[in-house]
Subunit: 249 residues, 8 copies
């Protein structure tokens, strides 16, 4: 489309339908529009059927209503992350398509058929029960983007046999998301047992010297196991976004 | 092989060649040996021809000589990271195969033919000139593992046109490594312009409030662009390890 | 005036209207009174028509009523920053001149005609929607001080084309305020594209390793682009104060 | 020129001298080249005669020789910052124009006549003697860019009378740079006494809980005086860059 | 008394009134009882009429009722610090002597005549209005201990003339308490102008990079002025305690 | 039992009751099941009658009901830690065995007779009254595990005679838990006076520069007295767990 | 002895051999002497044959010579920790008994026969090769105190099979010391696999976001496995001291 | 003198010896000169015979020579702090009066007779041997200012009996300086045993989580004992300065 438009302008100018100044004017802006056109939101939406993503936290009800309203007029699916129930209440009446999941704190509107990815899947693993909300944000996001997800929850290192009993399922994944709070050691242990990329998500689960996830974050960054990269504390969405990218390769 | 050995023991026992106690003794250890057998170093070495990796920093000359000597008796290629020239001097005489590259601070011994990966490549991008040692650690590592690497150096956001002039090369990569110190903004900007996974490496380049790479690390963890994950400060090796994993998918 | 008063005292003494001790007494205090007289609040108010500024946060309703009451007896315009609606409710009845703007959290009373500055303007730029309250504190403050303001909101680096499409407006500003949270990379990118001073305002927008704005603060302090200085996290007022100073040059 | 080139291509295409594909190809790249053309280094150098700046710290002697050699073939003046004497020794033979100043740690090559700015000047103020190297980096940089500089050193708040005795010189400046380590209170005190923008430079001078300049940095960011912005610890160059920008307004 | 008791036991033993074992038993405990007897609370209370002090924060209503009830049966005056109004409500009915002051958040019961200290006084100085609660905790505490207090509030360095106009009153103090938040520069400035010991109290007033008083704390610890020592953030009580000690010398 | 099972499988295979593939399949999993079988929860429960422990904080009411319901079907005693009263209200109806203690914030269900440990006891010592909730979590946990506990509360170093008057009781303990907030000095002082292992628990009691327990944590980690180890801030449970382990030796 | 001396004084006084004043004088000091007598150094040395311990780091050669000279006149064994070879050179000539071990950085003088502890042993486990110096400080210390030590080195979680292959040896220990740097996850994994107390020693091994051991320290403090306590970074001595205490129970 | 000069100018003007403009000119500067004249350095030197103080660290040899040369032309005694032996070597030849003490790292020149203070003394107490350099900086400084000093070294809480055996000497002091590193608990213990003001000096002695004195600093700021204030890490000079001030009261 972008290319088409450029051609169209060139042709119009050649035919004398627009004068040099007008062509110049449009073309001067093109780069930015081109860049814009190549931006994640639109381009990706067209190509791979990605839903539009709205980071709800910190936005006013009014702002959310405006943004959801606009996207509802579009054809893409919609994903709202970090949405409180109050925020969902504020937009719910805009469309019956909007669905709220309280654990992942997501608002979703699924439209059309998402292009599924083959047989490969993403393993989403948690150390404990309290890490599940972050893991669910990841799982819901990845599924929304079209990936298959296998959930392996509460297999932290305090009872490492739980991890081993499910290790084959984890090893079978094309990419693995590990969400863990407190000391976050699970990411290293998983990393040492698999051959797939591991995306580690530190969670803010813990107290005292966990410093709201800092402890788990540092653990994961310093992992002695190779093949691990890290996203922000509690950033289930970010982990899923990259995992889905990798899952498509 | 592991499975073969297990079968062998079972058969020996069945045939009465070994008694129950002996079988029990071996089998009791098997799980751990199995796990050991499935460990990254050996398993991966066999399957994908990964070089053995030695983290040289903090090891004594004596220890390094011992480790290199052992690996030189093996068939795999060898990669030593974070090696000072003094450390190389201490092992150099062990084999003419050992090569030192001072910028990446790597010692390598290439043996046999590494299994090359198809046409895809890893883009290694730096914000500045001072980030190059970290980038080279990544590039050398990735090449050693068999990936093709394209280097795009010194394209930081202070002169963003330099980035744009090479953006197509970056966009063509299957996975992108961005090494940046100081404020580390380049990772976000690249992340906003591409559709491939970005592995961000904060570097300790900077002074004052860069706090030895903390500033760049936080920047990268908080990136508003999606599809970015982060490794430890100056961890070019770790970024390359995961990038190579992804490049093989 | 200060000089006048000094002359007056000298003359009085010379004429014998006041004795040595009295003159001494007054003169001993003069420096401090002189300094006092030259203080920002009063001096500046007289000279450039600056509104009185009240930092409302942390003040009791009683204290605020006392301060607003006093300033309302003066002729200057009044600006109250970081005011909650409850605080506005507590002072609203003091005068119909008092106006509350909930996004910028400002209470204002405009009196007389503010001396406008020529054609130049301040660009107030934000990375995201959530940075707008801080940006509005800056914009309202700058307008109150007499500067023209152009608002360019939600042009963060995740979709950098949005920034480019408005870059001319930003480049046209005499001084630019960039408010950004999360990783705060926008300040560096803008700084690399313009020739005007950039005042960067880190915002506390973000979560996890944003550490309430610390991440954006460090990013901005370490910017590899030149011409950028930084104010405290969420300090829209402070950025506008200095920007207005520069805009008057 | 950029505009000219765009016109030229359009004309060539209209005339049929280049086919659609070629025009398309060139135009697709234009934005980035346009952006490149608008980059600070070149554009600014042409317009205001800014010297090229090389951040020497962390660059190898070889790299420095390469960069200096290139710039010496150009016509602009050259400024190398954070250069050790060893680094100067490594490049000194490239040209007799290169001069090293050990306190500011700058290498300079002055070529042609820099466009001087009118009568206005920048005041560079330090709290103590140990802050002078940072202040000199600022002063040398600002003078190199064409600003007049007045140095007011060692007037910290422990003996505040020293500040007051020189306050008129400080007040007369168009913009003020204050460099202070330890508790960094001088910036606030100066900020409370003047009507010009103050750019505060925390220095790493101090010990113990100064945490290498963190204490002064926080002090300056939290200043209760208005009109103050802050640059990185020890970043005399950055302060001077923005101060010069403001001094030209 | 302690000495007397020791003599008494020795005599009893000599006279055979108590056997060796008993004497041994008592004597073995004596050190601790002696030390106990010399403890601040009781010893000081007897000697200098210090009120008993109860740190109320974090204590349950039940605990507070128990502690206040006990002390009310004693003769000393009572000072409860960091008491919420709810806590006062929970103990108020124990005695009509109990008085609550909401700004300093103190509960007091004054009994008998406190031994006043001569003519000397403690100056309690604040940078801003928001620092007053901490200053009042100091002032109320010091007065309770028998010191005369002069309050000099809102004389921060942003309008330094306010400080100078009251400097004689400050200089006249035997010891000075300076409470300041944000950048906390006032302590250094006062310290540079007086010859008396300054006890600096950082307050948690501020936002963003004030990090709840950390900025002011570091400023005060790094003061370039001599004669300043520091207490914990918001610790008005602690400053007053030491100031009263010094005022008695 | 684990060993028995292994033998059983070997025998079945030898006898031809199961084929090679089945034996292989089971044996391949054995390590993990073995490891699982040796996990803390089950193994320890069988051997030493440890209660099951549920960390309640951050779990939903639904999750807690599920977990408590399951454990109530088992025979072990149950200990829920960091339980709010609301959480207890949510599970209370599951069984009359469940008891809530508000100070320690524990939910307990005692079943059968816990195997008591001989005469030795654990001393639980606090510096102040506000540390008691953490100490009670430790005391209740240790008693639940079968240890005898002696409580010595409010003997902090500000009135060190209180400590000395009870030192014999402390010295008599087999292991000592010291809970202290603020500066946490009590652990060092106790450590210098006893010959038993001291487990130090920093508490979040304090304000300002206590940074929610960080100050006490660092104090305890840096103790100049030997024989002290440290657990997480406010982690009374963890201290009691290890203390009980030691008490059983 | 202490008791004896007290009796002796009482008797002397009773017999009139010393007068009241003299008795009083001695008894007044007794408590402190009693406390002194109960101090670790002397009391423990007598009772359990503990070597005297000298923390060498930061002491001048002269001071070390004085301290070693004194202890060499005593009968106890001597242990000097954190001793550089230069420091050993400075004291070596004092006695042929002094022995230096460069990896543990200990100076020892073994005298008499240390009272061995029964069959139990302490397991000293490291994650990597670089953690060995800290582990050796622990092992040498524990052996010196009379404990048997089993060393299990380089069994970190990156190749977890190495740990499993030696788990029985670890499980057999009465108390376990785990030394690990980088992310420090090994302590949690070991803690989840054993029933003995684990004393975790974070080491400063690592780079970047390991922040000199902070990462491992936080990991260990936040361990989700129970039964783990922590000592200071690199504090092998402290871990061994407590481990030996426990091993004697 | 200051007053005298003011009178003189007034008289000259009255007599017509100087015209209005000249008087005005001088008087305009007077406040600052007055303030300057009242500055610590000169005023105090005159009044109480304080030595001039030079903070040597970070000053160049040339600067030190200049400053010492100037002060040697004056009559006051001179104290240089934080001076390396190299720095002393650089100034030694300026005068035979200059004396270097390597432990306290002070350069002194004693001239005339310092006004001694009566019988009272300052107790300088250290926890360990390694804190002595900081303590000596304090002791030398206090003695230089004319205070009597009693040194009580190496009485830390690990062997608290050492403290008790010298407590009377400590209690007899008018003001107490406590220097302690590692966990810094000594300040709290001393504070709980005395009735005099305690000035606590955290030292950088320690390793690991002492974070170069941060641990001791936080301990001292959070002391539960009253009457303690704190100076910067290793700031023996600052503690002595305030202690001497208090000792003179």
């Amino acid at each position: 489309m972008n290319g088409d438009r450029l051609i169209e302008i060139l042709e119009s100018y050649k035919k004398g339908e627009i004068d040099q100044e007008s062509a110049l004017d449009v073309l001067k802006d093109l780069p930015f529009k081109d860049l814009g056109y190549a931006s994640l939101d639109n381009h990706r939406a067209l190509r791979v059927g990605y839903p539009e993503v709205i980071y709800c936290s910190g936005k006013s009800d009014e702002q959310l209503r405006g943004i959801f309203s606009y996207f509802l007029t579009q054809e893409s699916s919609i994903l709202g992350t970090r949405a409180s129930r109050e925020q969902f209440d504020a937009v719910q009446d805009l469309s019956p398509e909007l669905v709220y999941e309280p654990i992942s704190r997501t608002i979703t509107a699924t439209r059309g058929e998402r292009k599924k990815i083959g047989d490969s899947y993403i393993a989403v693993v948690t150390a404990g029960t309290s890490d599940i909300p972050v893991a669910e944000e990841a799982a819901v996001t990845a599924e929304f983007f079209g990936s298959r997800v296998e959930r392996i929850y509460d297999v932290g290192v305090a009872g490492i046999h739980r991890l081993f009993s499910r290790i084959e399922l984890i090893r079978g994944a094309k990419v693995i998301i590990v969400a863990a709070g407190m000391e976050g050691a699970l990411a290293s242990v998983v990393g040492g047992l698999v051959n797939s990329p591991v995306i580690a998500v530190p969670t803010s689960v813990g107290y005292g010297a966990s410093f709201n996830g800092l402890s788990a974050l540092l653990t994961m960054l310093n992992s002695c196991a190779s093949g691990i990269s890290v996203v922000n504390i509690d950033n289930g969405f970010g982990a899923a976004y990259q995992a889905d990218m990798i899952n498509r390769l």
